[in-house]
């Protein structure tokens, strides 16, 4: 089987999410990558070095610069003439583009796979991760999005694939990019961090969140996350949100501070290797999944913890 993997990038470098998708794709067959963007030759060079990649297709065109689904999907559909499966990371770009590709090919998409069980058999979470479905596709071509934390990352070095330029369809003229507001952070990126310190509604307000959570995160070199309640209350921007409707993370250590552990939140972090919970309510559901729990008032316990580490 020949697979085509959508490379997640910012026109400068390959994002980590791509490496996990390469691993998933290599379990299906020969791996080809698609680098679509504007001024992204450097990305293609980087992509060619990823271990296990046979070929890199480079579509460098202003129409693909902001990964607009209306422009990128027809390009992928063209390339799917010579590929059997399309895989994208289950990031906001992947989730935006892949179903559009699937419908244009008249196939069903398999979303957010956790494992490859056979050529057409996969597992995926349903009901906010409360159940795992094993599904079998019947379509001739596969369109799949891959949960990044469920697969090991392919080595970023060691490959030497050929880069081939492809000319895709022109701008569809249906949509245009206006601008973006990217939250600035000097801490590790949430989805790839080894350690995450996450705060919930109990943090009271934005200032308190900063004063309690950030020093502990900095001490541990950790990324900062938040529950939906903390985001909705305006303590931190929404891209900090961990959960079914936010980011799915699986770090080595996840420290949940003042988070009760609603199913929506657990769906986003329960695959973490070690979960540590600090909460003053000893019956909070978070303690049912935590490896280490401390029942204490976070306003005393967290600063004390920070100073003693």
């Amino acid at each position: 089987m020949k697979t085509l993997v959508w490379v997640e990038h910012d026109n400068a470098s390959v994002k980590d999410a791509t490496l996990a998708v390469v691993t998933a794709a290599s379990q299906l067959g020969e791996v080809h990558l698609l680098v679509a963007g504007e001024g992204c030759a450097a990305v293609a060079d980087q992509a060619a070095k990823i271990a296990g990649v046979a070929k890199v297709h480079l579509a460098d065109n202003a129409a693909y610069g902001h990964a607009l689904a209306e422009n990128v999907a027809p390009l992928i559909v063209d390339l799917m003439g010579s590929h059997d499966a399309f895989l994208a990371p289950a990031t906001s770009n992947g989730k935006n583009i892949a179903p559009r590709v699937a419908a244009l090919l008249d196939v069903m998409q398999i979303s957010d796979i956790l494992s490859v069980e056979g050529e057409k058999t996969f597992t995926r979470p349903i009901y906010a991760g409360n159940a795992i479905a094993t599904v079998e596709a019947s379509d001739a071509k596969l369109v799949i999005t891959v949960r990044g934390t469920a697969f090991a990352k392919a080595a970023a070095e060691g490959g030497s694939a050929a880069v081939e330029a492809v000319a895709g369809p022109a701008d569809a003229g249906l949509s245009s990019y206006v601008g973006s507001e990217i939250a600035k952070s000097e801490r590790p990126e949430l989805t790839s961090a080894k350690i995450i310190v996450s705060g919930g509604r109990a943090l009271k307000d934005a200032d308190t969140f900063q004063q309690v959570i950030f020093p502990l995160a900095d001490k541990l070199g950790a990324a900062v996350g938040a529950s939906r309640a903390a985001v909705d209350a305006g303590y931190v921007p929404n891209d900090y949100q961990v959960g079914q409707t936010g980011k799915i993370v699986a770090p080595e250590v996840y420290i949940a501070v003042g988070i009760s552990g609603a199913i929506q939140h657990l769906a986003g972090m329960k695959d973490s290797k070690t979960i540590i919970a600090i909460n003053k309510d000893e019956d909070a559901p978070i303690f049912q999944v935590a490896d280490l729990g401390l029942v204490a008032d976070l306003f005393n316990a967290v600063p004390e913890l920070t100073s003693k580490l």
Partner: protein, 248 residues
């Protein structure tokens, strides 16, 4: 312009789903069902656009069993003008739903179709994008702000790392994210009024759509259970355990 709002009847988001012992699916017998939370946000946004004078009519659509009528009545009670139920007892996949919605959109010619970004049962996150593809129209997924300006719509989207704004030519498809708005509660008088609003019942065959599943579910199982952890007595004990993990 008309706005079309597809809504889905799903297990209530507060209910913890139980996997059936025979591994065929999730037990939905006697479980509380509600409108998918993202769809409530979609209905709310459509009604707000009508209140602003942007939309002339809001049509709610659901594909599902006879009981999905209740979900449509909820949308009508919130302020939708009329409803269409495409009734089927089969489980219908996002691709087939998108095909049915395309047929309805061809008939009704809405300026906007507003859907939830995903249903909390199958967690697919596909239908809106698929509908946009089938109609050959632009898509504004994961919207946290929607502004109609003349013959286009400006959509602020929640993306990894922050927000992105795109401009789409109308007609367009928008899918809602949680922060788009806070859905209103239907008042009792409006619930009563909703009972007399028109609700047409159709079948997938009326739209010539084959709903046979393309993806077969072989098995549904419980996720791996985490081993019960320990509670530590105080911060010092926690510090010791954290040091054992070797992360500081």
């Amino acid at each position: 312009m008309k706005i079309l709002v597809p809504v889905k009847r799903v297990i209530d988001y507060n209910v913890k789903p139980r996997v059936k012992a025979d591994g065929t699916g999730v037990d939905l017998a006697n479980v509380k069902m509600s409108m998918n939370p993202f769809d409530e946000i979609a209905v709310e946004e459509a009604i707000r656009l009508k209140e602003k004078g942007v939309a002339t009519e809001v049509i709610a659509v659901s594909v599902g069993p006879a009981k999905a009528q209740e979900t449509l009545r909820t949308a009508l009670a919130m302020g939708a003008d009329r409803a269409i139920l495409v009734q089927t007892d089969d489980e219908v996949e996002p691709l087939a739903v998108a095909k049915i919605l395309k047929a309805i959109a061809d008939e009704e010619q809405p300026g906007l179709v507003i859907l939830g970004k995903q249903a909390i049962d199958d967690d697919s996150n596909q239908t809106g994008q698929m509908l946009a593809a089938l109609l050959g129209r632009p898509q504004g997924t994961f919207a946290s702000e929607v502004t109609v300006e003349g013959d286009s719509v400006i959509v602020k989207r929640e993306v990894d790392g922050g927000l992105e704004t795109v401009k789409l030519a109308l007609p367009a498809i928008v899918t809602t994210d949680l922060r788009l708005n806070e859905p209103r509660y239907a008042s009792l008088p409006n619930i009563m009024k909703a009972k007399s609003k028109p609700l047409a019942t159709k079948a997938p065959a009326d739209y010539g759509v084959d709903t046979a599943p393309r993806v077969k579910t072989l098995k549904v199982s419980e996720p791996p259970v985490r081993v019960a952890g320990v509670k530590v007595a105080d911060v010092d004990a926690l510090v010791a355990k954290i040091k054992e993990l070797g992360i500081s």
